[in-house]
């Protein structure tokens, strides 16, 4: 009947068909007209209409209206985000806070260089809000929340960047908290990330501590030290009992790692012990929790708040005498303490106890079954991934590899009920509470602050497919790790004193103290010899200073000769300028320049009565400390002599630099003045 009405007559049929045709033809333009991006572009126009620079903004908008696309074939980027985010490049929209019209914050890259999804993820080609920002059935890459956006920098930049502290901290945590002991993370160049922590060997642990302490530590490492990086394995009482039984029975003695104290010696004065602890700058590396609960001190060595409850006094004494007997690779220097000093320090540290720690630990003698069960647990939990344990090999690939974790497909992830189905949320939840994904999982509970969890998540999210597949020319690699090793007797001495724990030489070593790569060009021999024997303070404002290692004359001489001979810069000859004999006129000219034109007294002290600058090293005796040629070249370009030096480059002309060098070389200081400071 309806058919008859519509198509009964040829003219009517023609009319109906035409109508249908025109409607179907109108669908495409109508879809276009009512599209979301057009809606936002219209909203943008009404937003800018009232502004002072409306004409300019409108003109720039109309140069590029319609759907916009950034196409970067080399990077695989097809981004249409700028169709709605119209104001990204408009600096004058700095006050606009509504999306999608905010201007983009200033970053080192431009939109046209890298597009949007490189950093923000999401679906670049999509033209609707839903499809671009959220995961759909077909596309599963949602937008990356702002809190993890620094991870994107890490896809190309392997070295730390000034503007990405969160990423840098996350990468540090990955190596410092031992993540990479169990999880392999390979870099695009094929090398694996190496851990920077040094978990102690347990081969001789019975010499060092008691079974009771191991039990308490296993149950809750942070109860012993709040800064402990060892995670909590949530062991049951019998499991902790059996592991401690196995570790103690499995330990082998090692000659010389315990020294009994002198029985007849009277108890050492705690105040003297404390002052020796201070003078030896133990706090540069070790922290102690004070009464207010604040952890004060460095984090290179373990926290010592309750060390007296942990280590045996005879072990502690031997360790302080020469730590390399127990652990040849330790970062702790060999201090060469005298016997009375050893007694003082052993007594002082031995008093740092906590009676609550072991009060409730009562262990019966271990049975063979318990020991066997302990060994099984140690293997199951992968303890040997971090610690050396007699008879147990370090397991390979103990935990899943994380090389491409940042691109893990959502379909491969089992989410917990109620969790947002997104990769960052999964990674963060997994770090926050690994066992919430199953009580049988082995991954232990780490003690991390929310900001640290976010930092770790950021570092892991940077390990994407894109990071691995980018053309190498587009990546910024980090400095390759240096395995520099000084040669001969001096090299052995430097290992013994753990110089590399604080100083870097040729790319290897810590950043707590100055880089010594060109030290031989910098300092004068007699000064260096005296300094090694008794390090004075060059920077009075610093809390962390070079400790005194009680070197013998021969050792100090050996080390001085090596440094003076080997660590010379090829940039200049250190003897090219005289150390004395500058004309008084030039010296006076230098003094004027020092105090007026260059105002060096802002940061340095030449005259201890008048000058107060406490940033740079004291220059009262710089004429007997540094070489003239070094001073001259330093003044010309400090960063060329020591990369990262904070002294500004003054673009000094040769004449000024020579006069200042002349003036500084007359600052020979006097012993009396030095002793006073």
């Amino acid at each position: 009947m309806l058919w008859q009405t519509l198509f009964g007559h040829p003219v009517r049929a023609f009319g109906v068909v035409s109508l249908l045709l025109s409607i179907s033809l109108a669908i495409a333009p109508a879809k276009n007209h009512f599209s979301e991006w057009r809606h936002y572009q219209n909203k943008y126009l009404s937003l800018i209409r009232g502004r002072g620079d409306a004409v300019t903004l409108e003109r720039r908008f109309h140069d590029h209206d319609g759907i916009q696309q950034i196409w970067l074939p080399q990077l695989g980027v097809v981004d249409r985000c700028t169709s709605c985010h119209v104001g990204l490049k408009e600096a004058s929209l700095a006050d606009v806070s509504v999306q999608p019209f905010r201007r983009h914050p200033v970053i080192p890259h431009t939109l046209d260089q890298y597009g949007c999804v490189m950093c923000h993820r999401g679906q670049g080609p999509a033209t609707t809000v839903e499809e671009a920002h959220r995961s759909t059935l077909a596309w599963e890459q949602p937008i990356l929340p702002a809190r993890y956006v620094q991870s994107s920098c890490g896809q190309c930049h392997r070295a730390p960047l000034t503007g990405t502290p969160q990423l840098n901290s996350g990468r540090n945590l990955l190596t410092r908290y031992g993540c990479v002991h169990c999880h392999t993370i390979k870099l695009p160049d094929g090398s694996a990330i190496q851990p920077t922590d040094d978990p102690p060997s347990l081969e001789h642990v019975a010499d060092k501590t008691t079974r009771e302490w191991i039990y308490a530590w296993l149950k809750d490492p942070q109860a012993y030290a709040v800064t402990a990086t060892m995670p909590n394995f949530k062991l049951s009482d019998p499991d902790a009992r059996d592991i401690s039984a196995f570790l103690i029975s499995n330990s082998t003695p090692i000659a010389g790692d315990t020294v009994p104290g002198n029985k007849n010696e009277k108890a050492p004065d705690p105040a003297e012990g404390a002052s020796l602890y201070g003078e030896s700058f133990c706090a540069s590396c070790h922290a102690v929790q004070n009464a207010a609960g604040n952890v004060v001190g460095g984090d290179i060595g373990p926290e010592l708040t309750r060390v007296g409850s942990k280590v045996k006094p005879e072990w502690l004494r031997a360790w302080l005498r020469n730590p390399r007997v127990y652990d040849p690779g330790t970062a702790m220097p060999h201090y060469r303490f005298t016997d009375p000093q050893l007694s003082l320090l052993t007594g002082f540290l031995g008093n740092k106890t906590d009676s609550d720690l072991l009060a409730s630990v009562h262990l019966d003698a271990a049975t063979p079954e318990q020991i066997a069960h302990g060994k099984l647990l140690v293997t199951e939990y992968g303890c040997a991934s971090c610690h050396e344990i007699n008879g147990i090999k370090k397991p390979d690939n103990f935990a899943p590899e994380l090389t491409r974790i940042g691109s893990k497909p959502l379909t491969q992830i089992i989410f917990l009920p109620g969790m947002t189905h997104a990769l960052p949320d999964y990674i963060a939840a997994k770090i926050r509470q690994p066992r919430s994904f199953g009580s049988a999982l082995k991954m232990p509970q780490f003690s991390l602050a929310p900001a640290q969890i976010d930092a770790l998540t950021t570092a892991l999210l940077s390990l994407t497919d894109r990071a691995h597949d980018l053309p190498l020319a587009l990546t910024v690699p980090s400095k390759p790790p240096s395995n520099y090793q000084p040669a001969g007797k001096a090299g052995k001495l430097m290992d013994d004193m753990a110089c590399f724990t604080c100083h870097a030489i040729n790319g290897r070593g810590g950043d707590l103290a100055p880089d010594l790569t060109w030290e031989g060009s910098s300092v004068q021999r007699p000064w260096l010899l005296a300094f090694l024997k008794n390090p004075g303070t060059l920077r009075p404002a610093l809390i962390r200073r070079m400790p005194r290692f009680n070197l013998s004359d021969d050792d100090a001489k050996e080390l001085t000769d090596y440094i003076m001979t080997v660590y010379q810069t090829p940039a200049f000859d250190r003897d090219s300028m005289p150390s004395t004999g500058y004309p008084p006129v030039q010296v006076e000219q230098g003094r004027q320049l020092f105090y007026s034109k260059y105002a060096c007294q802002s940061c340095h002290i030449v005259d201890t009565k008048a000058d107060k600058g406490y940033i740079g090293p004291s220059l009262t005796q710089v004429g007997s400390r540094l070489n003239a040629a070094w001073i001259y070249h330093w003044l010309k370009d400090p960063q060329a002599m020591r990369p990262g030096a904070i002294e500004p480059n003054r673009n000094m002309n040769d004449e000024d630099a020579r006069a200042l060098t002349a003036f500084l070389m007359t600052q020979k200081g006097s012993d009396k003045q030095e002793a006073k400071k």
Partner: protein, 244 residues
């Protein structure tokens, strides 16, 4: 195209990427067992963090009674501008009268004014204003440079790691938070004094030039940072540089 409703919803989703602050927190279900008269900041205010990230230290506030004694069991709720989120959003104070929350900053580089609120027995609200600063990439670079070079003299506060040189200088430098002075200086002035030192603006030579040490981009970053942390904030819309 269901029109504005859906669009607004999606907009809201994007804006409050870390969650809208309007939703009722778990705190509303909690019953206070104590009431205080004053709310004080214990720690965690005036922190500096990157946009969109959680602050390194938790924000801790304390509820006190009229005598200044800590009150346990008092209800405290936190609120802030859109984009800021709190974990937890609120709760009751512990035995030492304190409540701690982790603050996630919004995605705009901005000085965020947060509010902690508790109420007295008479249901009168007591508010505490707290400020946290979020830095974008550029300001973050400036912040790091300030830490390395400038803060040694321009920041009068000493830390455990670094003793301030502020008091040792005959002519006192202006702290970067000193909006009164710094807002009067244009970006060009600041660039000049950073690049060429104090004498460029007839000021003390104790301020050395950094034009040969820092790049142009770094100096711009430093100025962006100074503009963000200065108190009171400057009355300009955005960095003048970016117009070029």
């Amino acid at each position: 195209m269901t029109g504005h409703g859906r669009t607004l919803f999606v907009l809201c989703l994007i804006l409050g990427s870390a969650g809208c602050t309007h939703k009722s927190g778990p705190a509303s279900a909690l019953k206070p067992t104590g009431f205080g008269a004053a709310l004080v900041e214990s720690s965690g205010g005036k922190q500096i963090g990157a946009t969109g990230t959680v602050l390194a230290q938790p924000l801790v506030v304390q509820v006190n009674d009229e005598q200044g004694n800590a009150v346990a069991g008092a209800l405290v709720e936190f609120s802030g501008p859109a984009g800021v989120s709190f974990d937890p959003q609120g709760g009751v104070t512990d035995s030492s009268g304190q409540l701690s929350t982790n603050v996630t900053l919004g995605s705009m580089a901005f000085r965020y004014q947060l509010t902690a609120r508790t109420s007295t027995k008479a249901q009168k609200p007591v508010d505490l204003k707290i400020e946290e600063i979020a830095l974008g990439y550029q300001q973050m670079v400036g912040f790091q440079l300030d830490n390395k070079y400038c803060g040694r003299c321009h920041n009068p506060e000493s830390s455990a790691e670094r003793v301030s040189n502020f008091d040792n200088l005959e002519v006192k430098p202006h702290p970067f938070t000193e909006g009164e002075t710094l807002n009067k200086m244009t970006d060009a002035d600041l660039t000049a004094i950073i690049s060429h030192g104090g004498p460029a603006l007839n000021k003390s030579a104790l301020m050395p030039p950094y034009g040969y040490t820092l790049t142009k981009t770094e100096i711009e970053a430093l100025i962006a940072y100074i503009r963000l942390v200065s108190d009171p904030p400057p009355h300009v819309s955005g960095t003048v540089y970016a117009q070029k």
